[in-house]
């Protein structure tokens, strides 16, 4: 295990702790303690990361934001991976017209700019519940996944062990499920881990534009948006969610790299 992998695992453990245990031990993230004297307090023993402009405890908000930001990213990637897997497998395993049609669908999916679709959909929905946000994020992320899985399926279709299974009379569905899918999984796992970082950045960016979790809910991107106007007097309000985001995306990148080295040693 390399130092980088250990570092990534450590970050992941810390973030999981923050998301799982943090909201249980921290104070109410939405409690406005002292609007007269308690706003924009720098970090202290009473408030580990200070308070924001509504005198809310930043650490509590960071912890409850961890649930939103990490949860949305993981669900979004899972949705994208599932859709991509179904479509990619079908495109790679089918023959003739259907295969061409599905390939064309993936190309078109890749051609439609994701950010425009996301902006249009999210601003049309207005106040977005978090599960829907994650779903929309995932539903626009499938084409890249599908292309990857289609490529893997095409490569494995003509592998000797697949031909052997076919010669033994295994039905096509079984071949897909038991022979091709397991072989196509490693690159998908790597792409999904790296994709968590992308999803997190998109979530934070969209929240930063005011399209994410509606206030008073705390997501890291939303906290950045709120801190923007008071940045000059309270820079810790930027640093806390900013560093949390960097830690989370770094963890995803480091672990994705580690998985790639472990699962695809021959790929560069």
């Amino acid at each position: 295990m390399t130092t980088q992998t250990k570092f990534g695992l450590g970050l992941l453990a810390l973030l999981t702790l923050l998301a799982v245990v943090g909201p249980l031990v921290a104070a109410d993230p939405n409690a406005q303690r002292d609007l007269l004297n308690g706003t924009l307090q720098p970090p202290s023993l009473a408030h580990l990361l200070g308070t924001d402009e509504f005198s809310r405890d930043v650490f509590s908000r960071l912890a409850s934001g961890a649930r939103i930001s990490l949860g949305v990213a993981v669900v979004a990637v899972a949705v994208a991976a599932f859709l991509g897997m179904v479509i990619g497998l079908a495109a790679g395993a089918s023959d003739g017209g259907l295969s061409g049609l599905l390939r064309r669908c993936i190309d078109i999916g890749l051609a439609v700019p994701r950010i425009v679709v996301l902006l249009v959909l999210l601003s049309a929905i207005g106040t977005v519940p978090m599960w829907l946000f994650a779903l929309v994020l995932g539903a626009t992320g499938w084409p890249a996944m599908a292309r990857l899985i289609r490529g893997e399926t095409l490569r494995l279709r003509h592998a000797q062990f697949v031909a052997a299974a076919r010669a033994l009379g295994a039905p096509e569905v079984r071949i897909l499920w038991r022979e091709i899918l397991p072989g196509a999984l490693p690159p998908v796992l790597v792409a999904a881990t790296l994709g968590v970082a992308d999803a997190m950045l998109l979530e934070a960016g969209l929240s930063f534009l005011g399209l994410g979790a509606p206030p008073p809910a705390a997501s890291w991107g939303g906290m950045l948006l709120e801190s923007r106007s008071v940045m000059a007097v309270a820079p810790w309000l930027v640093l806390a969610p900013g560093l949390a985001l960097v830690a989370a995306t770094s963890a995803a990148t480091l672990l994705g790299d580690a998985l790639r080295r472990r699962l695809q040693p021959d790929a560069k």
Binding site: D107, A111, P113, V120, A204, G205, G242
Partner: protein, 322 residues
């Protein structure tokens, strides 16, 4: 040549279907498309009907999309509802700030990033390469707008060296000399450009390093070294050139940045480019403007991948027969 024609037709078809899809999505959205124009004013049904007819929002879906495509073929992007000006004019206005920012970012990424990546691959054990490698892991994961906010806080608010946002200083006297104007533009460009470059340069760096590391251990490099070829020639001819393919892919993928910009960075810096235009147009639900910017992006994505495929064939002769 036949290949190019087929590939071009393919790209055109894909772009066409993508435009239709985007138009359908935008037109299917709930809510009143005339709200941008009417706002909170009271209107009687007759005025509404007249407005709907003049803007074409009373058409059924297939007709609206059909009309849009027909106009697009004639080069007519329609009229922006929020500003009552042709979409094409607005797009052109917004294009050059984005091209300036995106173009310089691409230029720096694909010169400095590649050079540093190649150098790191040739000196993998040196401490400088190790530090650089560690930094790029963070750079890889660094969200652009978080980095931008930190830079604004440091250089615009704490030290007050650079302006925090905008394209130029609106309060500059009209008779200011050329040098003053140039300096003003450059100081306004500094922070967004630094943000974009620092947030993206890790990607070409890592690609180039990985690819060059793979070629550096190939037998032909060893053979060249054994023949006494100069190190610079080895780096250039034997390591760099075979390692170009992934870079070409990346260039094709990133070309849309020239016109699409980075929505989040442009919004953070109030940069009047296409990226911030897309965010503003969707926020005000200006259908023709959103579609116009979307079409521009779609075309650029196709152009990028077409260019990448073309460059492949230049860089890698084995691709030519396929």
């Amino acid at each position: 040549m036949r290949w190019l024609l087929r590939r071009g037709a393919d790209a055109f078809l894909t772009a066409l279907v993508a435009v239709v899809l985007l138009a359908v999505v935008v037109h299917l959205l709930p809510g009143d498309p005339l709200a941008v124009i009417i706002g909170d004013r009271e209107t009687d049904p007759a005025t509404r009907a007249a407005l709907a007819a003049s803007w074409g929002t009373d058409r059924p879906l297939y007709s609206a999309v059909g009309h849009y495509l027909a106009a697009l073929v004639r080069g007519d992007f329609g009229v922006a509802m929020s500003e009552n000006r042709p979409v094409a004019t607005i797009l052109l206005e917004r294009l050059w700030p984005t091209m300036l920012l995106g173009g310089l970012t691409l230029l720096i990424d694909f010169t400095c990033g590649l050079a540093l990546g190649l150098w790191s691959a040739l000196h993998p054990e040196s401490w400088r390469a190790r530090v650089l490698g560690g930094l790029t892991v963070v750079g890889y994961a660094l969200p652009s707008f978080v980095l931008g906010m930190v830079l604004v806080w440091l250089f615009a608010l704490e030290f007050r060296w650079l302006p925090p946002a905008g394209l130029l200083d609106q309060t500059l006297p009209l008779d200011a000399s050329l040098w003053v104007r140039m300096a003003d533009r450059l100081t306004h460009l500094a922070l967004p450009l630094a943000t974009m470059v620092l947030a993206t340069i890790a990607v070409p760096f890592r690609q180039q390093r990985a690819a060059a590391l793979a070629t550096a251990t190939q037998p032909w490099v060893l053979a060249a070294r054994a023949r006494g070829v100069a190190p610079a020639a080895i780096a250039w001819r034997h390591c760099w050139r075979p390692a170009l393919t992934p870079i070409v892919t990346l260039l094709g993928l990133w070309l849309p940045m020239l016109v699409g910009g980075a929505v989040f960075v442009e919004m953070l810096f109030d940069w009047p480019g296409i990226g911030s235009l897309i965010a503003q147009a969707t926020a005000s639900r200006d259908i023709p403007l959103v579609l116009g910017a979307g079409v521009l992006l779609i075309v650029m994505v196709q152009a990028g991948s077409l260019l990448a495929d073309l460059l492949y064939r230049l860089v890698d002769p084995t691709q030519r027969d396929r």
